[in-house]
């Protein structure tokens, strides 16, 4: 049954890893603005479309 202590240790260690990741992210300010990045992500398409088009035109020449 002593395996319990190992699994317990592992589970708490994993929890701490995630906690550390969360603290790091919060400290970096990733939760400061929950609105803009969502929009920004959708806008990427417009720029890539344009670049692709540009690339096509360039190769066409």
């Amino acid at each position: 049954m002593n395996i319990i202590f190992l699994t317990l240790g592992v589970s708490i260690a994993i929890a701490l890893v995630f906690l550390a990741a969360f603290i790091w992210a919060a400290g970096k300010g990733q939760y400061d603005d929950l609105e803009t990045p969502g929009h920004r992500m959708l806008l990427d398409d417009y720029d890539t479309d344009k670049k692709n088009q540009q690339a096509k035109e360039d190769t066409g020449k």
Binding site: M1, I4, F5, L8, S11, I12, A15, L16, F18, L19, F22, I23, A26, G27, G29, Y31, D32, D33, L34, E35, T36, H39, R40, L42, L43, Y46, K50
Partner: protein
């Protein structure tokens, strides 16, 4: 682009092809259409933006906007007009605005951001403005952080953004409160996450113990629980300790005192029991308690902050940044930042400018709009040597004055300081939960002491200690203290859905006590728009109308602006004006089409008029000295003013009008709304308004102007309405987004409902605590029971709050005029 218009037309089926402005989506008719290369726009501003976007290859903006289903935007101002930002590049301004030297960063508040298309467009700016390195826009608070190249051309951002029809205001270093808020926010998020991890794991281990883990497991799990609860009672609980220290210093009880008491008692008794091998440990209850508490407070804070961000940045009266100051040695006027203005300097202002400081007039005379002090837009005439006050607007041509006071030593500066002071002392008053907690803590303390001795005489001291601790833990007002923020948060949200932004949940504490309601007149009960009420233009021949238009165009006076607006639509052929001048204290005159015209204000005379109209001024037009026409100008009551006032009276409130306006105008309003004449105060100074409100007490003040700020802050509940100046919004407890008075009734209804909810929660909390406390003293409560009962009581209270929330929803269906 044609696609966009086509789909819109098909959808509605009625609109003619190409009848929407390509940029802003405004419907077009013959009067407002501008054509350019076969494309139609509503104004030059829209055309310029459209063409600019096309030229820069940014016309994707329109497809993004369409994808977001935004068909209309606010039309931009003509890019050619508007503020000149060149002053930002001057060395003396950099200290005030530059946020960081490396990289060179300046923050701006951007007006006019509506959707993702704006985000896309604005973040494209560094691509074609070489002076800008990079920039990022935050849509939740409409601020842009802009990094500039070492060329230090700070004006490049506002100039670039102006071309797209947005407006940027540079934020001073000290105005960057959002940075502070952000750091605070991150900290509480981290606290919350640590508490969550610890409490979660403690619960897991405790579940094992409760379900029968014994021996070495029980011992080791308890040790782990003890270790895991250490961060919870130290780092995570720091805010409670700080608040208790603060309340010890000020001698005021807060709800955090019993919280800290419970945390300490629970932890140390559990630790002691663990070390002595007794099974009575409460680590699980304690850490869960801290976690729920932090979570509910975090929730309330985020709701509150989101609402505060939605509050439009009030146009501060002191938003102007520079002023022409005379340099005696160079015998010339130079621009200087307003902040560095000194008493004794001579400054020059142009028509339409706002006085940045108090000063003595050096010009012969000037028309000055004192709305900042009176709330009224009709200017007064000031002669040479008289004092003009900061915040007033110059309505005549140029004026020169000698500065007598700047910043906080101006009259308005003093008023604002007073206002801030009032407001701060108001928000530090104790809250309902605090008062409840005080009584509660006392009661629990006394009962615990008495019962300890009572129980120990029967069962011995150690059993008595066990039971007393269980009693204290179980009867802590924990459910109450974290459900209160939660239910306040829910109410703030539902109020905001109804167009009321509430700054501080404590307003609900005070709303039910209100008996006297004070209204500002201009802009609150009335529309605050000074316009022509009647003018028989048909009897006035066209050349005369054209001459009047030509002359009034020269003036900044509100009367002139009203007349110009009235006549502009007619397409008159406007003649040249010669010899235009402002007449001292009366009006204007000028020569046009070979005749001398004058427009002067004559004495008021009351006459029967339309039900909602408030006549303020009678203008007589004279042609070569002969009166040829007369104009009545004034304001009109808001559509729902009468309804709301009647309803409030029916509910038994005493209503008052506080106005800085002339007696005759206030009397007309009071008469029309059937407010007793003795309750209508006219020609009040800002100081006077605030005094009246304070004297009456149990008050709610509704206003918009800077002259109402004092009254707003000294009333129990200050409500700023749409269109308020920034200073008034800052010191009021609630802000109404929509331009109607009906929302006042909604606000009062909300107050009633939350009071019911709070009462229900209190009653429940007391019943629960008495019952559970009794059980604890009788020895029936063990750690497992505590771990079950504490969350259970919270769930019941949350349900009760949600029930109250639903009730507001149904109430909103109530009749509306």
């Amino acid at each position: 682009m044609t696609n966009t218009t086509a789909t819109r037309e098909n959808a509605s089926g009625e609109v003619l092809p190409h009848s929407l402005c390509l940029h802003c989506g405004e419907a077009l008719d013959s009067s407002n259409t501008i054509e350019s290369n076969g494309k139609l726009f509503c104004c030059n501003g829209c055309r310029a933006v459209y063409e600019l976007l096309g030229a820069l290859g940014l016309d994707d903006y329109y497809s993004i906007r369409e994808a977001q289903n935004i068909l209309k935007t606010t039309p931009p101002a003509d890019p050619a007009s508007g503020e000149d930002y060149g002053y930002l590049d001057g060395g003396s301004f950099t200290d005030i605005y530059v946020k960081e030297e490396k990289p060179l960063t300046m923050n701006f508040y951007v007006e006019g951001i509506e959707c993702a298309a704006c985000l896309w467009l604005i973040e494209k700016i560094p691509g074609f403005v070489p002076e800008i390195e990079s920039l990022s826009l935050n849509m939740s608070d409409n601020t842009a952080t802009v990094n500039f190249t070492p060329a230090k051309k700070f004006s490049s951002f506002p100039e670039a953004i102006k071309k797209f029809g947005y407006k940027a205001h540079p934020l001073k270093n000290d105005e960057d409160v959002s940075g502070l808020k952000r750091r605070e926010n991150r900290k509480s998020l981290i606290r919350l996450s640590i508490a969550a991890v610890c409490a979660g794991n403690i619960m897991l281990l405790s579940a094992a113990i409760y379900s029968g883990a014994r021996g070495v497991f029980e011992e080791q799990f308890m040790l782990l629980n003890l270790i895991l609860s250490l961060p919870v009672i130290t780092y995570c609980s720091l805010p409670f300790y700080k608040s208790v220290l603060g309340s010890v210093r000020t001698g005021r009880a807060t709800v955090d005192i019993p919280i800290v008491f419970v945390i300490f008692a629970g932890f140390f008794i559990s630790a002691y029991n663990y070390l002595t091998g007794s099974p009575e440990v409460y680590f699980d209850s304690i850490s869960m308690f801290v976690f729920l508490l932090l979570a509910s407070r975090y929730f309330l804070r985020t709701v509150q902050e989101r609402l505060n961000d939605r509050e439009p940045l009030g146009k501060s009266l002191f938003s102007s940044n520079r002023v022409l100051v005379r340099d005696e040695s160079a015998r010339q006027f130079f621009y200087q930042p307003v902040e560095s203005l000194l008493a004794g300097q001579k400054i020059k202002l142009a028509g339409g400018d706002r006085f940045p400081a108090d000063g003595r007039l050096l010009s012969q005379w000037a028309e000055v709009n004192l709305s900042v002090l009176t709330g009224e837009n009709i200017p007064r005439t000031v002669s040479k040597g008289e004092i003009v006050y900061a915040g007033s607007i110059l309505d005549s041509d140029e004026a020169v004055l000698e500065v007598t006071g700047t910043g906080s030593s101006t009259r308005i500066g003093k008023i604002l300081e007073e206002v801030e002071h009032n407001y701060r002392s108001k928000i530090s008053l104790s809250t309902y939960s605090d008062r409840y907690a005080t009584v509660f803590t006392l009661a629990v303390g006394i009962i615990a002491a008495v019962s300890f001795f009572a129980v120990s005489s029967y069962y011995g001291a150690s059993e008595a200690l066990e039971r007393t601790i269980a009693f204290i833990l179980i009867s802590c007002p924990c459910a109450f203290v974290f459900v209160m923020p939660l239910s306040f948060g829910l109410f703030l949200k539902s109020a905001s859905d109804n167009g009321i932004l509430i700054k501080d949940a404590r307003i609900f504490d005070k709303l039910p006590r209100v008996r006297n309601i004070f209204f500002d007149k201009t802009g609150t009960l009335t529309n605050g728009v000074y316009r022509i009420l009647s003018w028989d233009t048909d009897k006035l021949p066209e050349p005369d109308r054209a001459a009047v238009l030509a002359i009034e165009r020269e003036s900044e006076h509100p009367v002139a602006r009203a007349i110009v607006t009235y006549l502009s639509g007619e397409g008159l052929d406007v003649p040249e004006v010669a010899g235009f001048r402002h007449l001292y204290s009366k009006g204007v005159e000028g020569r046009a089409g070979g005749h001398l015209y004058s427009l002067t204000a004559e004495s008021d005379e009351s006459r029967p008029n339309e039900i909602n109209e408030i006549i303020a001024t009678r203008i007589v037009i004279r042609k070569d000295g002969e009166p040829i026409s007369e104009i009545l100008l004034g304001d009109s009551l808001k559509e729902d003013a009468k309804f709301v006032v009647t309803e409030l009276k029916r509910r038994g409130y005493s209503l008052y009008i506080l106005s800085g306006d002339k007696e005759s105008n206030v009397r007309q309003v009071a008469y029309k709304l059937q407010i007793p004449a003795e309750n209508a105060f006219s020609e009040e100074t800002p100081e006077g308004k605030s005094e009246i409100v304070r004297e009456r007490g149990r008050s709610m003040m509704i206003g918009d102007g800077l002259n109402d700020a004092g009254a707003l802050s000294s009333s129990d509940v200050g409500v700023a309405i749409q269109g308020s100046v920034g200073e008034s919004m800052k010191v009021s407890d609630a802000y109404i987004i929509e331009n109607d008075l009906f929302t006042i009734l909604t606000l009062i209804d909300h107050g009633t409902v939350i009071r019911e909810t709070v009462r229900r929660n209190t009653a429940f909390s007391i019943t629960y605590n008495v019952a559970a406390g009794a059980f604890a003293l009788m020895g029936f409560i063990n750690p497992l029971a505590a771990a079950v009962l504490m969350p259970l009581s919270s769930v019941l209270l949350i349900a009760s709050s949600l029930y109250g929330q639903n009730k507001t929803r149904t109430r909103e269906g109530a009749a509306r005029p």
